[in-house]
């Protein structure tokens, strides 16, 4: 069975700058207690804007489809 894409984060590396929150086209993310949290993972369209722009490599798309 093909694995699904998922939005993942490394909360220990996140500095809460809010760049990912600003560029997310679907408002999936928000800042809580100076850290980014994935508030609405179901709305994610895996566009990778957050992964591309995060200065801290703290958010990324994982579980990439294995081609099956």
């Amino acid at each position: 069975m093909a694995s699904k894409k998922v939005l993942l984060q490394n909360i220990n590396w996140c500095k809460g700058c809010g760049v990912c929150v600003g560029f997310c086209p679907k408002q999936v993310l928000k800042i809580e207690d100076d850290k980014c949290v994935i508030a609405y993972p179901d709305k994610c369209i895996f566009c990778k804007q957050c992964e591309l722009r995060c200065p801290d490599n703290a958010i990324y798309i994982g579980g990439i489809d294995n081609g099956l």
Binding site: Q9, N10, G22, F23, C54, P55, Y60
Partner: protein, 275 residues
């Protein structure tokens, strides 16, 4: 480690998170460097990253290549030594605006003049961030810094024009927002056999942004999004470039490379059989 494959393969993940402030554009630009290296599928052992001193120059500490953190402004001098000692290596210099154009200004122009095969990537944040926000040679006229409390009266360098004027054979500019363009420029710069210069306009929300009321990191990214125009667009319709920051590939004109010219001299005299 909880991160993507690129980070796992090319970073010293045990050294992360990095020292840079929240929202600093340097992290994004460093990622562009890594993605360019990944795209070109360069062997990690054939790549050397050299840096000087400053915020930008912390980058090699986090990258899993052969890395060298040198003295202030002298990254290009060390890089020249590395390239001459082993011309097979790909040498990338990561430097800042102050490190490359103030403290290391002479090294920059002469490395460019020689056309030695080094890829210089400048993370330009318009300020000396690490030492507390003093104005740098690229702080725009009239802008504020801790040492220009009434506005900066120095005119800024156009680093790309400087590098091109000094003889650099590949010159380009992108920003922390235009990160895919940055990656493409770095790829071409690494492939260029000669001195390549890529300026990455970074953002410094902590000092430059705060002193000049530029907003948070997202607003500073948005400024680049709304105020940068690709040089190819301006060549077709010049009025679109008015009061805008030009980005893109400015100059690509290969010329004889320094270490190759040097090897020709070595071969000539070794061929004479004097020993």
């Amino acid at each position: 480690m909880n991160c993507n494959e690129t980070t796992k393969n090319y970073y010293r993940v045990d050294k992360l998170p990095h020292i840079w402030c929240p929202g600093c554009g340097h992290g994004t630009l460093m990622n562009a460097v890594v993605r360019a290296v990944e795209k070109l599928q360069l062997n990690k052992d054939d790549l050397v990253i050299v840096s000087g001193i400053g915020c930008s120059s912390r980058a090699p500490g986090y990258l899993d290549f052969n890395t060298l953190h040198t003295t202030h402004g002298r990254a290009l001098a060390f890089a020249t030594g590395i390239k001459l000692a082993n011309p097979k290596l790909h040498v990338i210099v990561i430097t800042g605006d102050g490190d490359s154009s103030a403290i290391g200004g002479n090294h920059l122009i002469h490395a460019a003049r020689r056309n030695i095969d080094i890829t210089t990537i400048v993370f330009n944040n318009n300020i000396y961030g690490m030492t507390g926000g003093q104005y740098s040679p690229t702080t725009p006229y009239g802008d504020f810094a801790t040492t220009s409390a009434y506005g900066n009266i120095d005119k800024p360098f156009d680093l790309c024009s400087l590098a091109q004027g000094a003889g650099s054979t590949y010159v380009g500019r992108a920003t922390a927002y235009h990160v895919t363009l940055m990656q493409r420029l770095i790829e071409k710069a690494i492939q260029n056999k000669g001195f390549s210069f890529v300026e990455g306009l970074s953002i410094c929300p902590t000092y430059y942004g705060r002193k000049n009321k530029k907003g948070d990191a997202f607003e500073m990214h948005s400024f680049y999004k709304n105020n940068c125009v690709d040089i190819r667009v301006v060549e077709k319709t010049p009025e679109k470039g008015e009061n805008k920051i030009l980005i893109g590939e400015f100059h690509n004109d290969p010329k004889p490379e320094y270490t190759e010219s040097y090897q020709v001299i070595i071969d000539k005299f070794q061929g004479m059989g004097g020993n």
